[in-house]
């Protein structure tokens, strides 16, 4: 019987993280959820958000810019286009991205495609900054909704 989950976060460029975990919290498109060992096979699309991996009392957060999670009884596989550990986040770049996105949001109309895009960019930037700021402290769940 599986007592832990083997968690892997994979992006096109590298394996970001691979470790054992007691539980994994992710923000799916339909809301945040937590997976424990022996979960029923489950496939979900992920929103821009944080994945929190807990192991023996310690928590680790990883930024994920959307993707998919493939869950089976003893394994969680996350496919993301971009994923970063808090200490890898480029705060300067995120700050600039936030400024750009805010500037664009100020002039765009709500219906535009660019508006949605800028909003997503802003969300990514804010979340990256937040995670970067709290890096090392070991934080609990951060939901994507906060960044709106």
């Amino acid at each position: 019987m599986a007592k832990t989950l083997a968690v892997e976060i994979v992006t096109p460029d590298r394996l970001v993280l691979g470790q054992e975990a007691d539980s994994v919290t992710m923000s799916g498109v339909a809301g945040e959820f937590t997976v424990l060992p022996l979960h029923i096979p489950f496939l979900s699309a992920l929103a821009i958000g944080t994945v929190v991996i807990r192991r023996a009392g310690a928590a680790k957060s990883v930024f994920v810019s959307g993707g998919f999670a493939d869950v089976t009884a003893d394994r969680v596989l996350i496919l993301a286009e971009a994923a970063e550990l808090p200490e890898e986040i480029d705060a300067e770049r995120a700050r600039k991205a936030r400024e750009r996105a805010e500037a664009r949001l100020a002039v765009q109309h709500r219906e535009d495609v660019d508006f949605t895009r800028a909003k997503a960019a802003l969300q990514r930037a804010l979340l990256r900054l937040k995670l970067h700021g709290s890096s090392g402290k070991g934080l609990g769940g951060v939901s994507a909704g906060l960044a709106r």
């Binding site: 994979v10 992006t11 096109p12 460029d13 590298r14 394996l15 799916g28 498109v29 339909a30 029923i40 096979p41 489950f42 496939l43 979900s44 699309a45 998919f68 493939d70 089976t72 596989l77 496919l79 286009e81 971009a82």
Partner: protein, 294 residues
């Protein structure tokens, strides 16, 4: 007999060229190693992606998503041509461009409009001289690209396809088979066929448990399919970049060898000329002293 000094200059020049080709060979081999490592790193993502898509696409109905639907009447064809930015890599770019050009001409002969999206300067230079319209060109990106380039190209392709600007999309790229073999390959990208996607996924052994899907099979497909295009394009980019370096390595290796041949044949000419000059000088001296004796 050529002048001694000219031959000597020529030998020096060839030796200098050899140094350059040798250095380029080494640079290419280092870059090739990097490109191959990137392909290796991409593989787990791609494999899992195909597996997931294959799982989902099994039961999917083609009408469920616009990217899966084949158009009844194909009017406009988009060719995504991926080549390198730099030359000096043998026939590599030429092979890709001519394969793409051949397809473009066939499609044009069938009365379809052909448009081209170029990645890499060499491909763009070829198509700029043809009658086909270039909708976009990504130049000087091949030396350092990441997944975001693939997503930019992907969203342009998907946007055009869904908007009805294109009815069919094919990608031409240099497939990396081995160090010695790179193949110019044409890969149909859109419309997607779920059977194909399922085929790519190596069927995992043993029966799989029923999955729970969130939000829904259709919703997930709508998220996965556009990304699948990006994955395909990224793969094309990675392969082309590895192939480019392998092709350059080989052609620079040949060039270095040719330089060696040239140097040895030029040295022969030089020695002959030197010998001839010495003989001539001796003849002059002997002739002069004979005349004095006279």
């Amino acid at each position: 007999m050529p002048a001694l000094k000219d031959v000597k200059n020529k030998i020096t020049a060839v030796k200098k060229t050899k140094q350059i080709t040798k250095a380029m060979n080494m640079v290419a081999s280092a870059k090739l190693r990097g490109a191959q490592a990137r392909i290796e790193r991409f593989r787990p993502y791609a494999d899992k992606f195909y597996e997931m898509l294959g799982e989902l696409a099994k039961g999917a109905d083609p009408s469920v998503h616009p990217l899966l639907e084949a158009r009844e009447e194909v009017k406009t064809v988009l060719l995504v041509v991926i080549t390198s930015d730099r030359g000096l890599c043998g026939a590599f770019n030429h092979n890709i461009a001519s394969a793409a050009l051949k397809l473009a001409k066939t499609k044009a002969a069938e009365g379809k409009t052909v448009k081209v999206l170029c990645v890499g300067r060499k491909g763009r230079d070829v198509f700029r001289r043809t009658e086909f319209e270039i909708v976009a060109a990504y130049v000087n990106e091949m030396s350092s690209f990441d997944f975001s380039l693939a997503s930019r190209i992907g969203s342009e392709v998907i946007g055009g396809y869904v908007g009805g600007a294109y009815d069919e999309v094919t990608m031409a790229f240099g497939k990396f088979v081995s160090l010695a073999r790179q193949e110019a390959t044409l890969l149909p990208v859109l419309p997607l066929s779920p059977a194909e996607a399922g085929e790519v996924a190596a069927e995992p052994a043993g029966p799989k448990a029923e999955y729970l899907y969130e939000p829904s099979v259709e919703g997930l497909l709508a998220e996965l399919l556009p990304r699948f295009i990006n994955v395909q394009i990224y793969r094309g980019l990675l392969d082309t970049s590895a192939s480019e370096h392998a092709a350059r390595m080989r052609s620079m290796d040949n060039a270095t060898r040719n330089c060696d041949d040239l140097v040895s044949s030029l040295t022969l000419v030089y020695n002959k000329a030197r010998q001839a000059a010495i003989t001539k000088e001796l003849m002059d001296i002997v002739g002069g002293s004979e005349a004095l004796k006279g």
